[in-house]
Symmetry: D2
Subunit: 384 residues, 4 copies
């Protein structure tokens, strides 16, 4: 007879969109994956009592706190899950790590390189005591993306030449869409660049297994002022769109575009990679599919293969449904907590760690500098 695996108490801070996605992940993971450590949805924190109580009920948490410090103080909580806006990530993560709690932190890691550096240093320090810190670039956990990385790592693409990546949304296409705090630089840090550009920077670096070293780009704000709910207009102080060119350490050329103005594209994350032996193409609008061109095929029958990534042999897939029964957006979050719990239990590395989150932050900062200097900026450059 087998004994049950140990449990770990989770404390989650924030209960908006990301909080709901994380909750579904904590709840689902134990029912589909063999876990060395079983999560308990111990407590959730939010700023006001009525809101956080309702969230605990709706999202399925055992208790609720109105001060996130309380989660860190609780001995029944071993893991802090940060789902708040970026301007609070640093203080929460630092406190948690110093208290010896494992941390899962939503992306982007922080609103500035300085904060991210402090967090990465703290995570490295904590790692010496076996404390694990992970940043939530969840799109890495899409099975098709895992397959993409495997193909690159296995050399199926040969020498990589090109990556082109786009993250296209359209919720600001209409100039009359209302102003929100996401258009305020003081609170949001940046606009499309940090919100969605961060994802394609991380995704492409992950798939390629290498890093961007220099960039030059253009940030644009197409609509300067937007209607406020109570009449009048508010100023938009972040970028509506970010486009940039990038170069990787070994000469791979990257072309990136992140925008909230691509009318008709709701959440289109597209990545294409070309190498001397093969090419890949992915679009999150068809997230269970990876297109792969194998350059070794005979010319007569060569072509991009539409791989439906729903076979048991594909990463994570075998734990869900039979072949052909696709996964959805939320499953990446479940895979994320599975990987995190395995890392805490010692069976796997914690990827992506805070150092990886910091590196993405440096890329974003370099793009912002390039908008000022109108030239190329080193990712490792001054002020980074």
């Amino acid at each position: 007879m087998t004994s049950s695996p140990p449990t770990i108490g989770v404390g989650m801070i924030g209960h908006a969109f990301m909080g709901a996605a994380h909750s579904q992940a904590w709840r689902s993971a134990p029912h589909f994956f063999d876990l060395p450590l079983v999560p308990r949805m111990t407590a959730i924190a939010g700023r006001n009592r009525a809101g956080v109580d309702a969230a605990a009920q709706r999202l399925g948490w055992e208790s609720a706190e109105t001060d996130w410090h309380a989660l860190i103080d609780r001995p029944d909580i071993g893991l802090i899950d940060i789902c708040t806006p970026g301007d609070t990530h640093a203080q929460i993560a630092l406190a948690a790590l110093r208290a010896g709690k494992h941390v899962l932190c939503e992306k982007p890691l922080a609103n500035s390189v300085a904060e991210a550096e402090e967090m990465a240093a703290a995570a490295q320090e904590a790692a010496r005591s076996g404390v694990v810190a992970m940043v939530g670039f969840t799109y890495r956990r899409v099975p098709a993306i895992q397959l993409a990385r495997t193909l690159v790592a296995d050399g199926r693409l040969g020498t990589v030449r090109h990556v082109r990546a786009q993250y296209l949304q359209d919720w600001l296409s209409d100039p009359e869409s209302p102003w929100t705090w996401r258009m305020d630089r003081d609170r949001a840090g940046s606009g499309a660049l940090g919100d969605i550009g961060a994802h394609i920077v991380d995704l492409t670096q992950f798939i390629l297994g290498r890093e961007l070293t220099q960039v030059t780009g253009r940030l644009a704000t197409f609509v300067d002022r937007r209607p406020l709910p109570d009449g009048g207009t508010g100023e938009v102080t972040v970028d509506d769109t970010a486009a940039f060119l990038g170069e990787f350490e070994d000469g791979v050329l990257g072309v990136y575009e992140a925008t909230r103005y691509a009318l008709g594209r709701k959440n289109a994350i597209r990545v294409e990679i070309n190498g001397s032996r093969g090419s890949l193409a992915f679009d999150f609008e068809d997230m269970n599919v990876l297109h792969f061109h194998d350059g070794d095929e005979a010319a007569e029958t060569a072509g991009f293969r539409r791989i439906v990534v729903t076979e048991p042999v594909h990463a994570y897939v075998g734990n869900w449904w039979p072949a052909g029964h696709g996964l959805g957006y939320e499953h990446g979050f479940t895979h994320q907590v599975v990987d995190l719990l395995r890392a805490i239990a010692g069976g796997a590395p914690a990827i992506p760690d805070f150092t990886a989150g910091l590196q993405v932050q440096r890329v974003l900062a370099a793009v912002e500098r390039s908008e000022q200097t109108r030239g190329w900026e080193s990712v490792a450059g001054p002020g980074s």
Copy 2:
């Protein structure tokens, strides 16, 4: 202050693939939908103690029984969820309905028309006491399919002329794939016809809001014997594939094909409908998308629209994630229990009910008769 909604105890029988899908639905529904009645995962039944205990643990049920009758006897259970093979549906459902329990029964409703008739009659009888019975044609709950039905019902297709539907799988393409009980007519009832053909019959009748009245078809078994695990071979006594033509009450012409031999198609459910004002196309391999051609568009810019059915305005979608963040296979099951619970609470009709399940059974039986008679058979014909 609002009071909590009442709860209902659920007892589920069976814990294979369908049991896992249903469990995820019972668990998830209360966290995403406002329910008038909250399900408790009270008990699960299976045939042997070790298996059912492990399943209860893995799938998240509070208790486990080794005899399904025990579920029906338990006063803390108000709803029986039948996830067993088709040859046991009738006895369980009849016992449950007679005991005043609500019933959710997996498809196909039964292995014969006679059984299905008895079940439908019992369900109609039970309905007089407010007992609800529903059959699990879960693909109806895919948001893109809901939109398809709405467009037809709203007259956007005008007079419908054609429906063509295919359910393509490939797990028997290889003649060396092993024999399983699914190839035994005594146990499985039929092969591709009942297993997957049933789905496209139900789906198309649902979208069109009308019924097939006569059919003629061809059942084929491409590989007569398959390897047994212990050496030797077993006889295949069911159909490998079913193709049939059908006519609807108002002259719509249907062309159907269900097969386990379409190499490369894992779970491709395709439906196309053509009318005098519009056309639709759906493929479950891209399940968050519906293609719609609006015949009222100007010739210069007319074309099939690729509608990404992930907007808050689409059925069920607003309860999940923001626009563009697609759902997966499993979400249909959650929608199913949401609709069932609402029906039990009196706020909505129970669709599809057992009468609808019976009608699908009659279509399948008529296809089988046509294979014998080599002619057209009425769905309401003798022996149906």
Copy 3:
């Protein structure tokens, strides 16, 4: 020094849509292909002087006749190209063959099996004197279709199980579209069945390299009467749509549908084939592409390949443009005359010959009989 190849005078009868397509082929072929026999566009025939003179001018023919017998009598004409409606094919072809002229005859070969039989017999007789007769199933000459046939012939699909084929048009979707002679059985022979159904019968038999032996189908006329130009309505005496099931000599199961009511599909010829080792899919709406699933690929990276059939290695392609520069509808006609001229010069078989055209006619006749008998009909059956 090389001498110029000999020439052959062509006489074409008919100058509507098909006449224009054939003219472009005769004109283009010598400039892209090395021909053993160079065509001269010697004369065109039509029924009235003004019309045929204008056609000769517009389509580029050296002279014009108002009686097709004149073409057959002319000694400077060695090849008769029949582009008239089906009810005149037999008499023209028989006269031409008996006069020792080579013949290219548009499809369908004739309006009845009896006529087709007489034509096939005459062609076989003429073949003994080296006279060549070919029927114009031009879609065979699309490079992607040639590749499909090659893959089947090379065994890349293994044992073939399924073929599904559709020819979808929409020009009758609107019930107010006017009546034309194509809706008159006396003149057109049949409707969708003979006009477009003939193409998918030929295409699939060609790709598979085997023949349909029995069929059962349904012909439907959705709109009985249509507006006449001068007011009033005319009766529609042909089928609007034809759907049928078919069985090939070795058990391959076919599902066919031809319709003029698939709103939004202008000229969608779709063919899918599934075998034990591979699958194919083609759609003429994307005519330069063939989708191929190779069952020998590893499960992790298997998928339908989108082969862009524009490489020099593909049939006919190397004579046109560089890789990636696609061909259009009309190029099949050029390939057809190239193959015909090579057959006449003795370097290649004349495919498809009149016997092949007759066999298609028999399939169509069997489908029509099955509409009457409501059962399966042998392609070689009575009256065929």
Copy 4:
């Protein structure tokens, strides 16, 4: 009775790939379009007698010259068609214009801005005498591209925000592909930038009806030396790939990429445009299709429409085949000569003229400067 239209003698210089494409256009145009001026394929020029004689025969020209000056001197030639490499365009075009001949010149207009300026000035001068000069950006004549321009001009896209364009080929993916003169800067001017980047610059400016004003980019050469036919290696002195960001006069943001290393993409010209009211997407791999998202559609049924641009109502299409019968690569060349002949006859403007060709040249030059300065460059800047 109508009199025949006047004729114009054409003299073509060059008989490689472009010469063949132009020849097919001159030959086909009169048979499909009503022309105010009918072209005669009077003479072709090439450098050696055997080659040019064979070309005249193969491509269908009445006579052949070994010195292009002879064409300009011939009184029976009214139009010079320049299909030679870029380094000879200027001298031929200037001579032709000064002799009062109309000119069609292949793209890019010249190998330098200085040459292009001289040509544009000469063309403006000649225009005063009714002489027409056109540059061969033939992709403008694809019906789907014409529709794209119309939709933008009609305001269907509202305020345009984004354009992203890629021209992807793969013939240099393999580092062992041999060296050719196209890799020699002295002869080819530039690599991917001028050869294929020029097309997407022109296409996007044409569709948008506005011009790029500043750019910054990156040119890369992935493989420095390539094998020579006779052993040894040759140096690659042009760009293998060009990626650049651009800004239009009114703030539209452009992202461009042209490469010969996108393995699996043979001739993929992709253009996407996003505006406040609509979006467009085009891919030359599916050249008869334009995708259009109409932002005015209801959210429930909004989506990118796949417009099959083969209706009689679409530009040029009505002169070819019935709806649904697609065109190929070569048809754009026929449309080009149709438009040119109409311009010469006075019925239409000559678009794109040499001034438009010059402007594209300035964009390319600015991209090259930006590679040196590592910053943004004005299209109208110094040295342009």
